[in-house]
């Protein structure tokens, strides 16, 4: 297991550097450069123009600039963003990346959770209207034109029904006089969710050691304790209302994104489960007289999960691609919109920064997939 992970890690680091070089040269090969803003001024003399170019380092050959960019990158410096002057690119990413990650990660988790559940039930209860309807419905949503569907969702649920806010990350008027910054609350929210998930995972793993009849109550008590802990924390800090404001703004985009993509995981789970249902160990489990639910969940679905997990992690990585469009439609101030604005403004350091972020995310997802896979499949874990 350790050897396997180490090998994957090494591969990922190499891939990352190849990726960095690729985006640098690709962006560099685009017509025009960020000096244009300055030297397009017709009153500049050719000498002054040359001087400006030299100041910006643009008179250097590509490979010199490449080594410079790489070595600053290794020191954690991605340069200054022009469109957010004078903020460093890293700073902008640190502010906006969590918003993007939270939005897309939650949407992907929700989408896969429901897709998995639906797919599992479809495979278990074959045939009938339900299968037909959910497949048609799911596939229609899957193939729908995303911005159009997102606008419909906003129009219906935010504009007409008023259940959710119309886009944006927060309601600025509600934050007047807030004791702290938006990002502070947001980071706390992320940590709450992270800690709660880790505790939940530990709980679920450890109840397995108990006797059968104690498992269910222990799970419920554990979950109640975790929920109570989170609640007490937010009540204590007095930031609960602000956290709720952010969550309220998150809901509609998450639902929209999840609706668009859940059919993929649903159909994948269904097919994978139809296959595991034919396995001999499922028949053997039935022969053992265990309950239908245990056969379905513990045996068939557990094994059907393996390909779904891979697909889950990859969609995490690629969800951000759609970020440019979705974030624009929902006026969500995340990395997708940042990339778009930066590209329009020829803010090259910011564009590179945003691409570095996407790449990092994709490669992290790969690593997570490997770890999850090894966790779920003992044949890999102990290879």
């Amino acid at each position: 297991m350790r050897g396997y992970l180490f090998k994957r890690l090494a591969q990922i680091v190499i891939t990352f550097f190849l990726f960095l070089s690729a985006i640098f040269f690709l962006v560099d090969a685009q017509p025009g450069d960020y000096g244009n803003v300055f030297y397009s001024n017709p009153r500049l003399t050719p000498e002054q123009r040359q001087q400006l170019k030299a100041n910006l380092g643009l008179d250097q050959p590509t490979w010199v600039r490449y080594t410079k960019w790489m070595s600053s990158f290794l020191q954690g410096d991605l340069g200054i963003s022009f469109s957010n002057y004078p903020r460093p690119v890293i700073d902008v990413i640190a502010e906006r990346a969590p918003r993007t990650i939270v939005l897309f990660m939650s949407a992907t988790v929700v989408s896969f959770y429901f897709g998995f559940m639906a797919g599992k039930l479809l495979a278990w209860n074959r045939g009938g209207l339900v299968e037909y309807a959910s497949t048609i419905g799911g596939v229609s949503l899957y193939t729908v034109f995303t911005p159009w569907f997102a606008l419909i969702m906003i129009w219906v649920f935010a504009f007409r029904l008023g259940w959710f806010p119309i886009g944006k990350f927060i309601e600025p008027t509600a934050w007047i006089g807030a004791p702290t910054e938006v990002n502070d609350v947001f980071i706390r929210l992320i940590f709450t969710a992270l800690i709660a998930s880790v505790l939940l995972f530990t709980l679920l793993v450890s109840v397995g050691r108990l006797n059968t009849n104690q498992r269910r109550p222990a799970t419920w008590i554990g979950m109640a304790v975790i929920a109570a802990g989170a609640l007490i924390y937010w009540l204590n800090t007095g930031l609960g209302v602000y956290a709720l404001d952010i969550l309220w703004h998150l809901t509609l985009p998450i639902i929209t994104l999840a609706l668009i993509s859940f059919a993929g995981s649903m159909l994948l789970t269904r097919n994978s489960m139809l296959e595991t249902l034919r396995e001999d160990y499922v028949l053997a489990a039935r022969a053992k007289g265990i309950s239908e639910k245990a056969i379905r969940d513990r045996h068939a679905a557990r094994n059907a999960m393996l390909p779904v997990v891979t697909s889950f992690v990859f969609s995490l990585a690629f969800a951000i691609d759609g970020g440019v469009i979705t974030e624009t439609v929902f006026s969500w101030p995340g990395m997708g919109r940042t990339l778009l604005t930066a590209a329009n403004a020829e803010d090259i350091p910011m564009v590179l920064g945003a691409l570095v972020f996407t790449g990092t995310l994709a490669l992290t997802a790969h690593l997570v997939a490997d770890i999850l896979y090894a966790y779920l499949d003992p044949r890999i874990r102990y290879a």
Partner: protein, 324 residues
């Protein structure tokens, strides 16, 4: 005489297929007493696995019981719901599957898969007692108890087979159906495993149904033998009777292909032809197209499965090839 553990009466089972109804088990009757070992032998595709799956009502979606009774400890389980079957399964009858290699779920530790059955049928046991029980079972089948924390892929074929047998023994069933328990193993492992199985069967006083296409395997372990042909029982009797005094020409052919019991009486060495298509089984006696003694009556009428001497039954118009 005590009442039999299992009594199968006129069992008929069909699979619905695109090409029509496939008659996989037709009018099969047999019984099994406490502690007895019954062998079921027949060519591939004659319906042996189907009989086993029907007895546990583990048929696939397209398989259904058309007729008959399956009486387990005095109760007919044919009308039982899935819920009611759960107690019968593993508690009263457990099974060693034909593809025992794949009968273990790859993602769970082998010991945990046995504990899963114990949790279901012996909920009063504590975790510690269950571990203890698995240790005992592993020792019984000749596996080191430390192996219970390993995953199936870490086991060799023979070890998996033993683990699957330990699993079948776990809830103290009255009987075990072992479907080709050793077919996937090499001959030496096969031999020792069969002997051991016979030993724990006697030791634990369980009844067994051994299913195999291999006459040699059946000869080694069975008290009584049922010979199946094309979904029907052709003959049933003590091992002695089946091997040394077969009545049905199919049994005679089968025995003559088995080297150690060549009967001089038969002049059949190899069976001509193919086993019949169960979608369109032959009329009358299903064996008639391949039978050297077949006459018109064999083509038209199904022979009754009747007693020729006490406990020795056969379905044939021309027992031992006699032309009446």
């Amino acid at each position: 005489m005590t009442e039999p553990l299992l009594q199968v009466e006129n069992l008929t089972m069909h699979y619905t297929t695109r090409a029509g109804e496939l008659s996989a088990v037709d009018n099969v009757s047999f019984s099994l007493k406490k502690g007895e070992a019954l062998g079921l032998v027949g060519e591939s595709g004659c319906g042996k696995t189907s009989v086993a799956l029907t007895v546990l009502k583990l048929l696939p979606e397209n398989g259904y019981i058309k007729e008959g009774k399956i009486i387990v400890n005095g109760k007919d389980i044919v009308p039982y719901t899935e819920q009611e079957m759960r107690k019968v399964r593993w508690g009263e009858i457990s099974m060693v599957f034909q593809a025992a290699m794949n009968a273990l779920n790859p993602v769970y530790r082998v010991g945990d898969q046995i504990i899963e059955a114990l949790e279901e049928h012996q909920p009063q046991m504590t975790n510690k007692e269950m571990k203890q029980k698995v240790t005992e079972l592993f020792e019984l089948v000749g596996l080191e108890s430390a192996l219970m924390d390993r995953f199936p892929h870490e086991f060799s074929g023979g070890m998996r087979q033993r683990a699957v047998i330990a699993m079948a023994l776990s809830c103290g069933p009255d009987m075990i159906i072992a479907d080709e328990p050793t077919t996937a193993l090499d001959v030496i492992v096969q031999d020792s495993l069969l002997k051991e199985m016979r030993e724990f069967q006697d030791q634990l006083g369980m009844a067994m149904i051994y299913i195999s296409h291999d006459v040699g395997v059946i000869a080694e372990v069975s008290d009584r033998v049922g010979v199946m042909y094309a979904g029907r029982l052709a003959e049933m009797g003590t091992a002695e009777e089946i091997f040394h005094d077969p009545i049905h020409p199919y049994t005679m052919a089968l025995m003559s292909s088995f080297p150690s019991t060549v009967g001089e009486k038969t002049d059949l060495v190899l069976l001509p032809g193919e086993p019949p298509d169960l979608l369109n089984p032959p009329t009358g006696c299903r064996f008639h197209p391949r039978c050297p003694y077949a006459t018109d009556v064999c083509k038209e009428e199904q022979p009754e499965f009747k007693e020729h001497s006490p406990g020795h039954l056969a379905a044939c118009w021309h027992p031992r090839g006699e032309q009446s």
